[in-house]
Amino acid sequence: MIDISHVSKTYSGKVKAVSDLSLSMQPGEIIGFIGPNGAGKTTTIKMMTGILKADEGTITLNGIDIAKEPLEAKHQFGFVPDNPDLFLRLKGIEYLNFMADIYGVSASDRRARIERYGTLFEMSSALGDKILSYSHGMRQKIVLMGVLIHEPSIWILDEPLTGLDPQSAFALKEIMREQAAAGKTVFFSTHVLDVAERLCTKVAIINKGTILYYGTLDELKAVHPGKTLETIFLEVTSHA
C-alpha cells in the first residue's frame, strides 16, 4: 500500500516540480504513472523512494513514513531506476548477491530466485560476466532481478520497459500481474500508453507537477466515450 498525501517539491526555490500531489494505492493494484516529459514523474518516484525529500506532505509505504522511518520504509519496496547503469564492473551474480545481502535474503531463497528469474529473462549464461559487457536491455534485466530477488511487497519502477526485448517485456508484464495477484502493489511510470492500457488497474496522469486524473481506465473512458487512451491523454494534458 502506498499513500502519498499533499506532497510538493520545488527545485532551487523556483521550479515547482510537484504540487500538492496525493495518490493512494492499494495492495493488488497495478498503477501506471503517465505524463509528458518533465511532468514530475521521476521527481515523485524519487520522493517515494527516499532519494529526494518532499518539501511538504507525507509519503507512507505499507503505513511507514519514508521521512520518519527511512530504513524500515525502504525495506518495503524494490526500485528499478530509469538508468540501469549500476555497478557496471560487478558481475551479474555479484550484483544479485550484493542486493540479496543488503535485503537479508537467505542463501536458499536467493539461489531459487536467481535460478528462476535467470531462466525467465534468459540471463543465466551472462551472470558470470561483468555488467559492463551487457547490452542496455540486459542491464535493465539484471536490475529487475536485483529487485525480484528480495520479493518486495511494493514495486516502484521508473520506465521499466525501455530497452527490453519483446520476450523480456512480456515476461516483466507477466511478473507484474503475478505480483499484483499475490497482493503486492506495483507502481510504474511509462510513456507507452498501450502498456498502461493493457496492464494497469488504475492510471495516474500527471502534468506540470499536478495530478490531472487518477482512477481506473474504465472510469476515464466513461468520461471520454469512444476515445482511445492516447487521445484522452493528449486532450487531458493539453488542457492542463
Partner: protein, 548 residues
C-alpha cells in the same frame, strides 16, 4: 575541410567542457586554480632556476643552445610516450566513437579532428614545462629577435610528429591485434606500462652517467652548440627544429615543416586503411557468456553481512576499474616496492646514507621515539597516497542515488567505504614497514609498535578523508578518472598527512622521554581517531541527504 572544422569544434567542446554544469562555482572550486598554482609553483620555479644555473655553466663555452635542444627533445619524447596512452583513449575508446562511426565521415576526417584535439592536450604539457625553461633562456641568453617567431612556430609544430608516430603505432596494434580493442584491458596494460615508464625514468635519471668524460670534453671543445649532437633524437623533426631555433636557420625550419607535412600525409593514408577496421571492433570489457558451474554458483551465492558485502563491493569496483586500480590500489604495492628496490640496489653500492642507517644502534635512548614517529609518518603517507576514502563519495558520481534508496543506513554505508580504505591502508603500511624494518635490522618490538602507530594514524586519516568527501564531493563527471585525478579533496588529506608527523616530531624533541612520548602519541592519535569517527557518524546522514 568543413566536416573537419565542425568535428574539431564539437570534439573540443566535448573533451574540455564536460564538467561545465551551469551551476555556480563554490568557494572551494573558485580557489582551485590558486591551490593548483601553489602546488606546481615550486616545480615551475625549480625548472626556471635549474635552467638559469645550466645556462651560467654553458655560456662561457658557447653551448647555451643545448638548452633549447634538450627542451625540444624532452618535450617531443614526452609527447610521444604520453600519446601512446592518449591516442587509444581519444581515437578508439572515447564515448563519441560510436556516434562518429555512424556518420558519413571519412576515417581521415575523424582522425584529423581527434589529432587536432590531442594537440591541444599536448600544448598544455608543453606550456607547463616549456614556459619556465624558455623564460630562463630568454632572460639569461637574450637571444636575437629572429629567435622568437621561429621558437613559437617550432613549438606550435612540435607535437605533430611525435603524436603521429604514436598514432601510427597505435593504429597498427589495434588493426593487427584484436585483443587490444578491449578498453579495460588496454587501460590496465597502458596504466602499468606508464607506471613502469615513470619508474624507469627515475632509475635512468639516477644513473645518468652514460657519456664518457672524453666524449664530453671533445664535444665541448668544438663549441658553437655542437653539444646538441649528444641527444639521441627519437623524433626525426627535432634535430632540425632545434638547429632552426638555435642557429636561426630557415632551411632547417623548412625541413622540420616538411617532415611534419610528410608525417601527416602518411597518417591520413594509414587512417583510411586501418582505422575503421579496428574501431568497429572496440568493446568495453571481455565476456564469456558461460553458465556458472554448480560449485562456482554455490560459493558465489553464500549470504554475508551487509557491511562486509558493501565493503567487498567497494574493493571489487576499485580493483576492476583500471584507473582506480592504478591510483587507489597499486600505489600500496608499487611505492614500497620502488622504495625498497631502490634501497636494496643502493645498499649494495655502499651508499653513505644507507651505511649510516645500518650502523644505527636501534636500542640507543631516543631511537625508539624516532621509530614510532616514522610509523606515524608511514601510516599517514600510505593512507593519503591511496585516496580511497577521500574520493569514496565522488566515485559514486550520478550513481549516488543508489545509496539513498537501499535499506541500509548512511552510517553503515559510510563505514563500509571507510573499511575499504582501511584495508588498503593496512596493506600499504605492512608492505612499507616490514621490509624496511628487516633491511635496517630494527628490533621487532619497535617494528610492531611502529605498525600500531601507523594504523592509529591511518584510521584518523581515512575517516578524515571520508568527512572531506561527504562535505565536498565531485559528483559530476563522465570519465572515471575525474573523481580521483581532478579532485581537490586529495589536497585536504595531504595537509594533516604532512602536518601530523611534524607535530609528532616537535613533541618528541620537547619531551625527550621515550615512554612519555609513547603515551602522548597514543593519546593524541586515539583522540584524533575518536574525534574523526564521531564526526563522521554525526554528519553522515545530513551530508548524504543534502547531496543530489
Amino acid at each position: 575541410m568543413r566536416n573537419f572544422c565542425a568535428l574539431f569544434k564539437v570534439t573540443l567542446k566535448n573533451t574540455f567542457g564536460v564538467t561545465e554544469t551551469g551551476k555556480k562555482k563554490t568557494f572551494l572550486q573558485k580557489l582551485f586554480p590558486i591551490f593548483l598554482l601553489v602546488a606546481i609553483a615550486p616545480t615551475i620555479a625549480s625548472f626556471y632556476f635549474l635552467t638559469g644555473d645550466a645556462i651560467a655553466l654553458l655560456k662561457p663555452i658557447q653551448q647555451t643552445g643545448v638548452i633549447i635542444g634538450l627542451l625540444l627533445t624532452m618535450l617531443s619524447t614526452l609527447i610521444f610516450f604520453l600519446a601512446i596512452f592518449l591516442i587509444p583513449a581519444v581515437f578508439y575508446f572515447s564515448k563519441d566513437v560510436e556516434t562518429l562511426l555512424s556518420l558519413p565521415l571519412k576515417a581521415s576526417t575523424i582522425l584529423s579532428a581527434k589529432l587536432a584535439v590531442s594537440m591541444i592536450y599536448e600544448y598544455i604539457t608543453i606550456l607547463a614545462i616549456g614556459i619556465p625553461v624558455v623564460l630562463a633562456y630568454i632572460v639569461n641568453v637574450q637571444p636575437p629577435l629572429g629567435f622568437y617567431p621561429l621558437l613559437i612556430l617550432t613549438i606550435l609544430l612540435l607535437p605533430v610528429v611525435p603524436l603521429i608516430m604514436s598514432g601510427l603505432l597505435v593504429m597498427a596494434v589495434m588493426a593487427l591485434i584484436p585483443k587490444a580493442r578491449n578498453r579495460d584491458l588496454f587501460n590496465y596494460i597502458s596504466g602499468f606500462i606508464s607506471l613502469g615508464f615513470a619508474v624507469g625514468i627515475n632509475m635512468v635519471v639516477g644513473n645518468m652517467a652514460t657519456i664518457s668524460a672524453d666524449e664530453m670534453v671533445q664535444l665541448l671543445i668544438q663549441g658553437n652548440n655542437s653539444f646538441l649532437a649528444i641527444f639521441g633524437y627519437l623524433v626525426p623533426s627535432v634535430p632540425f627544429a632545434a638547429k632552426a631555433v638555435v642557429n636561426l636557420s630557415l632551411v632547417d625550419f623548412a625541413i622540420s615543416v616538411l617532415i611534419a607535412i610528410g608525417a601527416y600525409l602518411l597518417f591520413l593514408l594509414i587512417a583510411e586503411l586501418a582505422y575503421f577496421k579496428a574501431a568497429v571492433g572496440v568493446n568495453e570489457t571481455g565476456a564469456n557468456r558461460r553458465k556458472l558451474n554448480g560449485k562456482a554458483y554455490l560459493s558465489s551465492t553464500q549470504g554475508a553481512d551487509p557491511i562486509w558485502t558493501y565493503t567487498l563491493k567497494e574493493l571489487k569496483l576499485m580493483i576492476r576499474t583500471p584507473i582506480y586500480l592504478l591510483n587507489n590500489i597499486s600505489t600500496v604495492i608499487l611505492i614500497p616496492a620502488i622504495l625498497v628496490g631502490t634501497l636494496m640496489t643502493t645498499a649494495g653500492q655502499q651508499d653513505e646514507l644507507i651505511t649510516l642507517i645500518q650502523s644505527i644502534d636501534w636500542n640507543a635512548p631516543g631511537m625508539f621515539a624516532y621509530v614510532l614517529t616514522a610509523g606515524v609518518a608511514i601510516g599517514l603517507f600510505m593512507t593519503s597516497l591511496n585516496l580511497i576514502t577521500v574520493t569514496a563519495i565522488s566515485r559514486e558520481g550520478t550513481r549516488l542515488f543508489f545509496m539513498k534508496y537501499i535499506p541500509m543506513s548512511y552510517n553503515a554505508q559510510i563505514q563500509a567505504k571507510v573499511n575499504s580504505g582501511l584495508i588498503v591502508s593496512v596493506l600499504g603500511i605492512l608492505f612499507m614497514t616490514v621490509p624496511f624494518g628487516v633491511v635496517f635490522s630494527i628490533p621487532w618490538i619497535q617494528i610492531v609498535l611502529a605498525i600500531v602507530m601507523a594504523l592509529l594514524a591511518s584510521v584518523f586519516l581515512n575517516y578524515f578523508g571520508m568527512i572531506v568527501d561527504m562535505i565536498h564531493p565531485k559528483l559530476i563527471w563522465e570519465q572515471e578518472a575525474v573523481p580521483v585525478k581532478q579532485n581537490i579533496n586529495a589536497v585536504f588529506t595531504m595537509l594533516p598527512g604532512m602536518g601530523l608527523p611534524v607535530a609528532a616530531f616537535l613533541v618528541l624533541n620537547w619531551l625527550k622521554n621515550d615512554t612519555l612520548f609513547l603515551v602522548v602519541l597514543v593519546v593524541l592519535l586515539v583522540g584524533l581517531d575518536l574525534a574523526s569517527i564521531i564526526a563522521t557518524r554525526k554528519i553522515a546522514t545530513s551530508a548524504i541527504e543534502k547531496l543530489s
